[in-house]
């Protein structure tokens, strides 16, 4: 078997944390807590390692004569500038926080705004790809709920039965969402169990 040590570790840790959540054994609780709290800095280190990896990739892209990606220099510059500023000023420094409020926020919010067009256009073109009654139903539902969200129906209480209509309308997606949630929960359970029985070993590189 690949990576026996790692597999044993994953299974052991997983079972302890799992049992700690359900078994009312007092000794298990603190162990579970400790294991959970240990995971956090380790995950953070993994994040740092991955970021270093990202930088490495773009550094190589920059120096790759065959498919040189000159934009990568901007990425590297952006990173090192931010990182240096963070080291010098500290993360809670108001000036450093401008990185979030005046660089990330504008860009991300704008990307989200761009998504308006992307999604609108995608739903228009959907029928170019596939025409099925589910697509038609999907579009109809989209349109209806856009109208609901726009608040046209809720303007004043003048329109009769609107309240009941809205209540019914709001129930429908809940039903489907619940079904999907339950299904995803079932899938998550089996997926998690596959890890706990050592069938899935993504860590066995």
């Amino acid at each position: 078997m690949r990576a026996p040590l790692s597999t044993a570790l994953a299974i052991a840790v997983g079972i302890i944390v799992l049992l700690g959540a359900f078994l009312p054994v007092p000794t298990l609780q603190p162990i579970r807590q400790t294991l959970l709290s240990w995971a956090i800095p380790v995950a953070a280190t993994a994040g740092l390692v991955a970021i270093l990896n990202l930088l490495g990739v773009h550094w190589r892209k920059l120096n790759n004569p065959r498919e040189r990606d000159t934009y990568s220099i901007l990425l590297l510059l952006g990173f090192f500038a931010t990182f240096a500023a963070g080291l010098i000023l500290g993360p809670s420094n108001p000036d450093f926080q401008k990185v979030v409020t005046h660089i990330q926020f504008p860009i991300e919010a704008s990307l989200m705004g761009v998504l308006t067009v992307s999604l609108t256009y995608a739903s228009i073109r959907m029928f170019q790809r596939r025409v099925g009654w589910m697509s038609i139903l999907f579009t109809a539902s989209t349109v209806v709920f856009l109208v609901v969200l726009s608040g046209f129906l809720t303007v004043g209480e003048s329109i009769p039965l609107v309240k009941d209509l809205l209540a019914a309308l709001n129930t429908l997606p809940v039903a489907g969402a619940r079904g999907i949630l339950l299904g995803i929960a079932l899938g998550s359970i089996t997926t998690g169990l596959r890890v706990l029985i050592g069938a899935d070993r993504p860590y066995s590189g």
Partner: protein, 822 residues
């Protein structure tokens, strides 16, 4: 023959190609390939041979040979040949040539020994300890009168020895493949030396018989031809019913060179024909249609070498009948020539042969006959279905094996039919030839009565004493159940087996092109064609129109939004109806802000990305204002790195913000495991504030040990997963503490189920929720323009989606079905 499969690398080549385009080896040696070397090499080689040759010693010399022998010594003529062949075969990769030398299957070594001794008879007797098998072999050839029956027991014994070998060989398949050219090497010199070496006419006759048995090797096409042959058979109609009728048809095709090439081939014909005439006829048909030619000089070689009157007589007598087969020896000539290529490497061989255990010298020397049978007999067994080229070479020995060891075949074949047959075997020509080999035989036996033997064939009778007849009888007894070898035997006598093994490259190429490969090729073509047909589907939608349409949509949305945002247009107005969750949210907040006990802090879980900060900040501002105005302590905690900053930025914009009543724990890494930890032990999970100081010593946190001690948990979230994580991990431990959510519109529908299930107490969703809260709290109307632009924008999107959808649906239905499918 649309293509020729390279026997070395399996690449398909155009029919007119003489070299494989991938491995650059000769598909078959044509005069065009390298004419001069052929002629010169042949002649010189022959001269040298003649020069070197002395009357071949009978059994005696063979037995007298002394053990002390230097394997490295090479006959000078052989050396000369090497030089030439090296020059001739430059394209032969050195590495490839070297390979065989390194590790050769035993049988190969034996053959080589044979070759050594055969070709080097002039050398001092003391030279060849390892050559023992050969002199015996020659002796055997020298005493044809020796009844085969005598040989059988010995052959039995040797066969028994041979049993071990397949297992031993199975490992070295690659070596076999690399050693392919070798066998050819061994065979021809063997013959030559025999030819040149022995004068006595009786011997010559028997040699003739050997020649016969060896020449059929070149006729492999016959058996493998299976189906093809059947076709040709039917196509010929009556012509194919008997040789006589068949041959005239074939006559026009023969070429003089081929005709003159090898009478042995002609002589052998009867015995061959007796067993399976039609295949053999078909074989040369096939080879003829390939339009292959033999270098004339090479063709002359053997007849001249074999200087026997009856030879010539038979030649004179049977030229006509021989024609059909006449061309088949040609390849043998080629093989023979080709076979010299690897020689240079083989000087080690005797050495390696010496290392391996040979039968004790006495045993060998005692019975020349046995040994005569032995090496040949070994070969077929010691190799587990070697590649065709290989078999071709070993076939000369195989013949005898089949003759004498016929009874053992059943038992002996068993080991060969192992599951771990080499890959090349599994799907390669050989397997096919094995199976196909049966058909012609079956056909042949039924269609041709022994009585129908043509006159010239009768003349060959004596030969039958040595060979095929008996094998044929054995064949009758055998059942075609125990695997490939039986496939041969049940169908054909020795010759049949023998004929499996020659001219693989050209032949297999044709056979497969005609049958399977063409089918596969066409299949593949269809597949590829299908792909090709479908390719255009995406291709036909070029990006340009899509870009234009997208830009158009963008322009429309931007214009409308700006018009309502900046232009001051007003839409319908604010909602008068509120979602129940918004109402319960409002009620909870009111309850909190008006409650007497304001010491219990509120946990503000900030979990939104900057992307949706705009929406959430807008919705959360009035709520936070209400909370702060009542001095409710806030503990800010974020499950994403930017949340804390955004929250602080948001709070700083709100009037009544007092940093003393706000603790910003900051980023809580670890996702839902962190939330799980937080749910059970907040102090352990989030010990410090975002400046690194200890968080829980604040006065308003004194009484807080669990999340349920908070007055409420207010979650600002923009995505369904984090809200799920919060609800799943945190809600269970909250008890009476309400979980309130301010969510982006995109997350709201997914939080609905949790509201229904009571895990979430109340929610404000996006701008509508914000508007509702504003209305409920009776505070001033939302930011001017936002709500109008929002409503207008949504309406525009609705219209666009409806129009676009209708357009494309209409186009889909107007399309013909075929297009739809693509």
């Amino acid at each position: 023959m649309s293509e020729i499969i390279c026997p070395y690398c399996g690449t398909s080549n155009s029919p007119d190609a003489d070299q494989c385009r991938s491995c650059h080896k000769h598909l078959f040696v044509e005069p065009s390939a390298s004419p001069t070397p052929h002629t010169s090499a042949d002649d010189d080689w022959l001269n040298s041979l003649r020069g070197d040759t002395h009357p071949l010693p009978d059994d005696e010399p063979a037995q007298d040979e002394s053990p002390a022998g230097s394997e490295d010594e090479i006959p000078d003529w052989l050396a000369r040949i090497r030089q030439r062949t090296q020059e001739d075969t430059l394209e032969q990769p050195a590495g490839e040539a070297a390979e065989p030398g390194e590790e050769l299957p035993d049988w190969l070594k034996e053959i080589h020994i044979t070759d050594q001794s055969q070709t080097g008879e002039d050398q001092p007797a003391d030279q060849t300890l390892d050559d023992i098998p050969l002199p015996d072999w020659l002796a055997a050839s020298a005493s044809p009168s020796q009844p085969v029956e005598d040989a059988i027991p010995d052959t039995l014994q040797v066969a028994a020895e041979a049993q071990a070998e397949p297992a031993l060989e199975e490992g070295d398949l690659p070596d076999w493949l690399s050693a392919l050219p070798q066998p050819a090497v061994e065979e021809q010199p063997g013959e030559e030396s025999a030819l040149t070496g022995e004068e006595p006419p009786d011997w010559l006759k028997t040699f003739g018989s050997y020649a016969d048995e060896s020449t059929p090797l070149e006729e492999t096409p016959a058996a493998p031809a299976g189906d093809e042959w059947l076709k040709s058979f039917e196509s010929f109609g009556e012509a194919a019913q008997s040789e006589e009728e068949g041959l005239p048809l074939l006559l026009p095709l023969e070429n003089d060179q081929a005709q003159s090439v090898e009478m042995p081939a002609a002589e052998e014909l009867p015995s061959d024909a007796a067993q399976m005439p039609v295949p053999s006829s078909e074989d040369w048909l096939a080879s003829l249609s390939a339009g292959e030619q033999t270098p004339a000089p090479e063709a002359e070689v053997e007849p001249s070498a074999v200087s026997g009157e009856d030879w010539l007589r038979s030649f004179a007598a049977y030229t006509e009948e021989a024609l059909p087969q006449a061309d088949t020896p040609v390849p043998s000539g080629e093989d023979w020539f080709k076979s010299f290529e690897p020689l240079p490497v083989e000087q080690e061989l005797p050495a390696s042969a010496a290392e391996e255990e040979l039968p004790p010298f006495e045993e060998l020397s005692v019975s020349a006959e046995m040994q005569a049978e032995a090496p040949p007999f070994d070969l077929p067994y010691s190799q587990e279905f070697p590649p065709l080229e290989e078999m071709e070479s070993s076939a000369v020995f195989r013949v005898q094996a089949d003759e004498s060891a016929a009874p053992e075949e059943e038992a002996d074949t068993a080991p060969f039919i192992s599951d771990d047959l080499p890959d090349w075997f599994a799907d390669d020509q050989l397997l096919d030839t094995l199976h196909e080999g049966e058909k012609p035989a079956a056909e042949g036996e039924t269609s041709l009565e022994p009585a129908e033997l043509p006159g010239w064939l009768q003349a060959m009778r004596p030969l039958e004493a040595v060979a095929p007849g008996r094998a044929g009888n054995d064949a009758d007894q055998r059942v075609e159940t125990s695997g490939p070898l039986t496939g041969y035997q049940g169908v054909l006598p020795g010759e049949a087996l023998v004929t499996q093994y020659s001219k693989p490259g050209i032949y297999s190429g044709r056979l497969h092109v005609l049958e399977k490969q063409r089918a596969y090729a066409s299949l593949l073509e269809n597949l590829v064609a299908e792909e090709k047909i479908r390719q255009p589907a995406p291709a036909e939608r070029s990006a340009a129109p899509r870009l234009l349409a997208r830009i158009l949509v963008s322009a429309l949305i931007v214009v409308v939004v700006l018009a309502f945002l900046v232009g001051g247009f007003t839409a319908v107005g604010l909602p008068g109806l509120y979602a129940p969750e918004s109402v319960s949210f409002f009620n909870r907040i009111q309850a909190l802000s008006t409650s007497a006990d304001t010491t219990a802090p509120l946990l503000l879980a900030v979990d939104f990305e900057p992307a949706l900060a705009g929406e959430i900040r807008t919705a959360a501002a009035p709520v936070l204002e209400d909370l702060l105005s009542n001095n409710i302590p806030l503990v800010i905690l974020s499950t994403n790195p930017t949340g804390a900053v955004l929250a602080e930025d948001l709070l700083s914009t709100i009037s009544g913000y007092n940093p003393d009543t706000v603790l910003n724990i900051g980023y809580l890494p670890g996702g839902s495991s962190a939330l799980a930890a937080l749910a059970s032990q907040p102090r352990l999970a989030a010990p410090t504030d975002r400046d690194g100081g200890f968080a829980w010593d604040r006065p308003f946190l004194q009484g807080i040990t669990h999340l349920s001690d908070f007055s409420a948990v207010l979650l600002l979230t923009d995505n369904t997963e984090n809200s799920r994580a919060w609800v799943e991990q945190v809600a269970p431990v909250l008890g009476e503490t309400p979980l309130l959510v301010i969510a982006s519109n995109q997350a709201a529908p997914m939080i609905q189920p949790y509201i229904q299930s009571g895990q979430v107490t109340g929610m404000l969703a996006g701008l509508p929720g914000f508007a509702a809260y504003q209305q409920l709290s009776g505070s001033p109307s939302p930011q001017a323009g936002y709500w109008d632009a929002y409503q207008a924008g949504l309406m525009l999107i609705v219209v666009l989606i409806l129009l676009g959808s209708l357009f494309f649906i209409g186009r889909q239905f107007s399309k013909p079905k075929s297009e739809k499918r693509n």
